[in-house]
């Protein structure tokens, strides 16, 4: 077990508490940098989505994880970012300009949503953000002069000096850079007064107020930052898909973003990345299930002594099951429930538990991470 001796205030502030962090994150970055030369184009494409989802996840974590304001409307922020990019593209605005403009506009919208949200708590806030997302969706579908309505908009290939193909390594590096910058910026924020004010608001608004924190202002700030990050991600999302339409930005997508942070863990930025990897990789997994599983199981049945005909039946049954329409939804549902029930701290929590298990071996106690039940009904009158 490693003990950290802090001999300077700097030790407390710096991003990497000890050299081990630098090595491991350096290694990770190196792997991510050479990934385009190793992985298949399909997996690279998924990796780009991981970056985009993780960026949104970080944005959502700032609001939900650190400021304690739940939102089921982040798809709308993503949409605003995406549509701003697609709209400005028509006037040959260069990428850096519309990228920043999209983030800025989404941030402003986020702040505007934050104002009415100031007086709302818990479930009321969730409903309000859902309502907001519905209204945005409807506006996108109806404001045809700008958004082209339900027809959707084409997103032109990115021009950044040269043409940046949405499948090429440059686009991947761009997404990765946005993600890394977002994470670093957020970490900076979290070790500054603003980040601490967010956490204070999450844990006790009354105490935060009595410590001189302007709760309303910081909630609005949190909404704005979270929305702006999501808006940036929206631009990349639009480029990656090369076509956007209102029905892409539904409640379903907002829920997916919540799943990202829920599965990853809501208490650390690691959660956003891990959750994004998990969520995006469900798709390749399902494809595998559809393509290969029936053969594998049928083959297994055959080797286990089933007749050719029966093995064939089994294979067909598995194929039918794996390609059933609702399978993805059912798997989502089961995953959410299982995580809430058995892994409330998410994947990152599991990682910490494993790490602690080896650090303390053989003295690890399961109770270290036990959740405290609060039966007293306090949330209603916070």
């Amino acid at each position: 077990m490693r003990f950290l001796f802090k001999t300077d205030y700097e030790d407390d502030i710096k991003l990497f508490p000890h050299s081990g962090y630098i090595y491991s994150y350096g290694l990770l970055l190196a792997v991510l940098l050479i990934a385009p030369y190793v992985l298949s184009s399909y997996l690279m494409s998924q990796l780009v989505f991981v970056c985009i989802y993780a960026t949104v996840g970080v944005g959502l974590l700032i609001l939900t994880g650190f400021t304690g304001q739940a939102s089921l409307g982040h798809a709308a922020f993503l949409a605003i970012g995406a549509y701003t990019a697609a709209y400005l593209q028509q006037f040959n605005v260069p990428f850096p300009v519309y990228f920043l403009a999209a983030g800025l506009l989404t941030g402003v919208v986020g702040a505007l949503v934050g104002f009415p949200a100031l007086r709302l708590q818990g479930i009321y806030l969730v409903i309000a953000t859902i309502s907001f997302a519905f209204i945005v969706e409807e506006i996108l579908a109806r404001w045809e002069s700008v958004t082209n309505g339900n027809e959707g908009m084409r997103v032109k290939t990115m021009q950044l000096g040269t043409t940046v193909s949405r499948d090429g390594p440059t686009f991947y590096y761009l997404c990765l850079a946005v993600l890394v910058l977002t994470i670093v910026g957020t970490l900076n924020l979290l070790r500054s007064p603003t980040g601490r004010a967010f956490v204070a608001i999450r844990d006790s608004e009354t105490a935060a107020r009595s410590m001189g924190i302007n709760v309303a202002l910081y909630k609005v700030k949190s909404f704005a930052i979270s929305a702006a990050i999501t808006g940036f991600a929206g631009v990349l999302f639009a480029h990656k898909l090369s076509f956007i339409s209102p029905e892409m930005f539904t409640l379903q997508l907002s829920i997916e973003f919540i799943i990202v942070i829920l599965i990853g863990g809501t208490f650390s930025l690691h959660g956003a990345v891990l959750g994004a990897i998990f969520l995006v990789m469900i798709d390749p997994f399902l494809t595998y299930l559809k393509d290969d599983m029936p053969g594998v199981i049928g083959g297994m049945a055959a080797t286990l002594g089933a007749g050719t005909e029966r093995a064939g039946h089994i294979q067909d049954a598995v194929a039918a099951f794996a390609s059933a329409n609702g399978l993805k939804g059912a798997i989502y549902g089961i995953i959410i429930v299982l995580f809430v029930l058995f892994e409330p701290l998410g994947l990152y929590g599991r990682w910490l538990k494993i790490k602690l298990f080896f650090q303390l071996f053989p003295l690890y106690k399961r109770a270290t991470f036990k959740r405290q039940k609060i039966y007293v009904k306090s949330e209603r009158n916070r």
């Binding site: 502030i13 601490r196 844990d203 107020r209 410590m211």
Partner: protein, 252 residues
């Protein structure tokens, strides 16, 4: 003119008069205790001062400034810090970050500077930590510096809440039952700290307390309340022997 003054302060919830035309003044550098039976309106007075409730009527002055209409977060900026009866700490954060939140009123950095963590932010962070360490030393909190609040015992949390209030470098501190839930030794410590706060840090203390030993030991003056009204005001022994106070406590 007094340092801190409440004039005809009232707080009514419908027909219930939680605080009823209470006037009192606190002189700079004194320790004033408010005593009274449960439901006498003691905590309500604190909640009025820290603007959790708006008063039904009356005015509050601090350093000759009318603060009755100030927003709640500005009260701390004026130099009034408080603790809570039922501990309001930031549960899922470390002791250190709780205390650093106490420094919030002294932070001057802007959002974009913090996003880039510019040298000014870094310098600010170091300065905050230096002050926080002084408070940690003052209240003997060294062993708990990097611990999460949610794992700490009640007595320690009580001290941390006091520490958080001190970190904001207040001129006036409001202590809401600082000894409730503490054992005899911890209460002793608390009384030393309260006196040190006055003598070493020059902080004016306004305190709500039930424990008469603690009140007698630290207070310069005492106010007794019942049913939202002032029963008596004066030195600790004067107030304790005031017939109305005796009647209120013994129910005569």
């Amino acid at each position: 003119m007094s340092y801190f003054r409440a004039e005809n302060l009232s707080l009514h919830f419908g027909g219930l008069k939680a605080v009823d035309a209470v006037s009192f003044a606190v002189e700079k550098g004194e320790i004033l205790s408010i005593i009274g039976p449960n439901g006498a309106g003691k905590s309500s007075i604190f909640n009025l001062i820290s603007r959790i409730y708006p008063p039904t009527s009356g005015k509050i002055f601090f350093e000759d400034q009318d603060i009755t209409q100030e927003p709640a977060y500005d009260i701390a900026k004026l130099g009034i810090a408080r603790t809570f009866q039922n501990i309001e700490l930031f549960e899922n954060a470390t002791v250190l970050s709780n205390l650093l939140v106490g420094r919030h009123r002294h932070s001057t950095t802007r959002l974009w500077q913090e996003l880039l963590f510019l040298p000014s932010v870094r310098a600010g962070e170091k300065a905050h930590r230096r002050r926080v360490e002084q408070v940690i030393e003052f209240l003997d909190l060294e062993p708990y510096r990097d611990k999460l609040i949610s794992g700490l015992p009640y007595g320690v949390r009580k001290v941390i809440e006091l520490a958080r209030a001190l970190c904001s470098e207040p001129k006036l501190i409001l202590l809401d039952e600082p000894s409730s839930g503490l054992n005899v030794e911890e209460t002793d410590d608390m009384s030393f700290w309260i006196r040190d706060m006055k003598s070493e840090l020059g902080i004016t203390v306004l305190m709500v307390e039930h424990d008469m030993t603690l009140v007698n030991r630290v207070s310069d003056r005492v106010i007794a309340l019942n049913y939202g009204r002032v029963l008596a005001m004066g030195s600790p022994s004067e107030v304790q022997h005031h017939p109305d106070v005796v009647a209120a406590y013994l129910g005569a």
